[in-house]
Symmetry: C2
Subunit: 477 residues, 2 copies
């Protein structure tokens, strides 16, 4: 029988809390032609017992022969999770086996169901759900299913194995692939990612409720093209009980985008203003690109929630500082003067011509005095008029070949400087421009990610996001 | 005597056309303490005769001893250009020497003139101009002067030595440093860059006129914080005669930004709406960040001018394709259906489940059939309803370790695909997301730069720019 989680106002949610305890899994139908791709990917990191189900294959190079079976029914122990990649013609029989075996969750990669737009596909999907008897919960069909690094569940090769606190729900598997592969560059990690394809059983509302109540998830990301109309009220109820920040990327906002979304996942996007109203009412953070979705998640993951009004600017180039001031003010934030006692102390730290100790700070060539930079940033952040600091620090400064006097203390000192935000509980947003020295930038990026300092390459990558996160935080308090 | 270029309506412009023929230069006052920084930097690439002028130093390691003099007057031949970095107290004497020697152009790095905000500095600047007698043209003081890769004039180490067709004018030296060091990553090159500091002699209007008439420059970039009020009419006259695309970044647009600009270069920014009106009247392309300034320059440098209305989208992830459609339509462009005969041909090229042959194209896993991708892109661009193609191609596809079947032909075939824009004279904008594989991305970026294909990491890096460039081109025709 289907389990309904009891919620106020009788919202219907399918319970999948069992997934945090998946101990065994099987890949059903790994393709020999594709060198058992999905089996090998799961074998990379899966921490429990992994089985391969194939009607004819007896041997898979590098895979324990004793773990190959012709049916999931023949596996001696329990099977919690299956990843199914059989042709549509075999799906019903496979599902019968799963139901009989007591499988709890099935990811169905197989396509050509309702996504085909054909009557046969739609009927096959209905029959599939019927065979699952509400005993087997289904992700898909036509989806990539579940990425769960803590347990090593990963549908593609080289997916990171480090768990984080960010959850992500998307119909599109391609979007998930980009997001998951991007985490290494960004220095973030996912708790769980769901690619639910046609959403024939588990849908956006179920998965959102799950992440909203999942102790392993602090931040929720969504890419959504649409939901079934009948689920609108359930969605609102789930949003009403949610306490976590939800960052949402809505696909199908414009007239042509709505048509494209329909072609993609047969989603009915609905009016953008309806979505906008829901996002506003339940205080969701809406972004415009996948990159913004990930950048916003990183900001909250690293700094927690923040509500920023007054920003200190720290620039090596006075001109770049002026541009930053314009961008900050255009977002409705301020670049105020420092308070008198802080200003006085700051004045004493500037001794090079062409610098400015006022906000925006212009340190110019004095940047190489990295110990003094630490004092300057520390002072700026200790000003109670200041909520955060944005700085410009091009990557060549981290390449010793560009130094006039080779100074090995510059890099560790600057890493300390950039980490000061956490001491003051005020975010620092360093823009380390992509100029020459990509390897030096990558090294600094890694070092700063370890200290939970997010770097950017371009102010437009985060400027609107800090304003959106501030609005969210303010409304939340 | 000062030479005025004759222009309609008597605009006063100082002629510096001689700089294209600089054959000899001297660095006056290279600092021993800083290991003769500016001398060494110019020695890296300067193609003519380079001299060092120092009152006491007789030897500079690695520098021809016979080219060290105590005064510019003692150099046997002509000196076209000097880079001056002496203390303010010595500047007048040095300028006397330059005038006497017949030096044509002086870059004055020395600060503490009008930029100091002090009466003494202002008077020193006036006296400096007087001593130059309109015989020596001055860049600065308080500027970095001239970067001219064709002749090897470069104020910092490792400035690229390859000349391009993009000119850049900025007061701020720091902005110029970032821009010049960024060219390698971006795959663009400058013709000339001017950092004119206080603009005591040559100012924004003079330099803009120069680049506007410089045969080595096709595209003009400007970072401007303000100009002297009396030069407003001259600026308009220069803009009226200009035929080249000018991309402008205005510093000091907001109230606080205006104050910051004044602190930075004593510039009077003026009302933003006054500037906006000028930019509109003379059809300048205004951008909001230094990164956009460079990205816009690259777009025009690679593809020439374009006016785009109808865009084909090519995506590996249907979801990413939907997002792109929304972004494109939000800019007022369309993602229209292909014309019937092209659509018919396209249909025959798609054979994998989960793909879509309509616009937005969703190739999904079929991407690995790279020869067919070439045919698909070729067909899409041959549609006369289509002006350009935007595509999403995450960087891991260029790493063979991520291939199911290791395919060495994928990379060369995709390079061919991405270069098809030039064959059709329709731009292709590939988004190669920064996901894992940074080295593969860097390699592809270099290969594509050789073929003048600009890659981006994020759609927001170029989406507004292609719309702005289109508006410029349309108004221009």
């Amino acid at each position: 029988m289907v389990e309904f989680v009891s919620m106020e106002n009788d919202v219907n949610i399918k319970d999948i809390s069992f997934i945090n305890n998946i101990k065994s899994m099987a890949v059903i139908g790994p393709s020999k032609k594709r060198d058992f791709f999905f089996l090998r990917n799961h074998a990379e990191n899966f921490k429990g017992d992994l089985y391969a189900i194939h009607p004819t294959v007896k041997e898979i190079p590098g895979f324990d022969q004793r773990k190959i079976f012709t049916s999931v029914k023949n596996i001696p122990g329990d099977i919690d999770f299956v990843f199914i990649a059989v042709p549509p013609s075999q799906i019903l029989e496979v599902m019968n086996d799963c139901t009989e075996k007591g499988v709890k969750l099935a990811s169905i990669f197989t396509a050509e169901f309702s996504d085909s737009g054909m009557k046969e596909g739609l009927e096959l999907e209905k029959e599939l759900i019927k065979r699952a008897q509400d005993k087997v919960r289904i992700l898909g069909p036509n989806g990539m299913g579940l990425y769960y690094p803590k347990l090593g569940i990963a549908w593609r090769p080289k997916f990171p194995s480090t768990p984080g606190k960010i959850g992500f729900i998307a119909q599109s598997g391609g979007i998930c692939n980009i997001a998951i592969y991007a985490t290494q560059e960004l220095g973030i990690n996912f708790s769980k990612v769901f690619s639910f394809g046609n959403g024939a059983d588990l849908d956006f509302v179920d998965l959102l409720y799950f992440l909203s109540n999942d102790s392993e998830t602090d931040i929720i990301l969504c890419y959504i093209e649409g939901i079934k109309e009948k689920r609108g009220d359930d969605l609102k109820k789930v949003l009403a009980q949610n306490k976590k920040p939800i960052i949402v990327l809505k696909g199908g906002k414009t007239k042509t985008g709505i048509i494209a979304a329909k072609t993609h996942t047969a989603s009915i996007s609905g009016e953008d203003r309806t979505w906008k109203a829901i996002f506003k009412q339940y205080n969701l953070i809406e972004v415009d690109t996948l990159e913004q979705l990930l950048f916003a998640a990183r900001l909250i993951d690293y700094y927690g929630l923040f509500d920023l009004k007054n920003i200190a600017v720290f620039s090596i180039s006075g001109g770049y500082g002026v541009i930053l001031v314009d961008l900050i003010c255009a977002q409705g934030m301020n670049v105020p003067p420092f308070s008198p006692e802080i200003q006085k102390k700051l004045n004493s730290k500037f001794f090079t011509l062409g610098t400015s100790s006022k906000n925006p700070l212009d340190v110019s060539a004095q940047i190489y005095h990295s110990k003094i930079m630490r004092e300057i940033i520390d002072l700026a952040l200790s000003d109670r008029n200041i909520d955060a600091l944005i700085m410009d620090l091009p990557s060549w400064y981290f390449n010793i070949d560009f130094h006039i006097k080779k100074d090995n203390t510059f890099e560790p000192n600057m890493i300390e400087c950039l980490s000061l935000g956490h001491e003051h509980k005020k975010p620092i947003f360093p823009i380390i421009q992509r100029v020459n020295c990509p390897n030096d930038r990558a090294r600094i990026s890694r070092k700063l990610a370890e200290r939970k300092v997010p770097i950017f390459g371009d102010p437009l990558e985060f400027m609107t996001l800090i304003s959106k996160i501030s609005k969210y935080s303010k409304k939340r308090i």
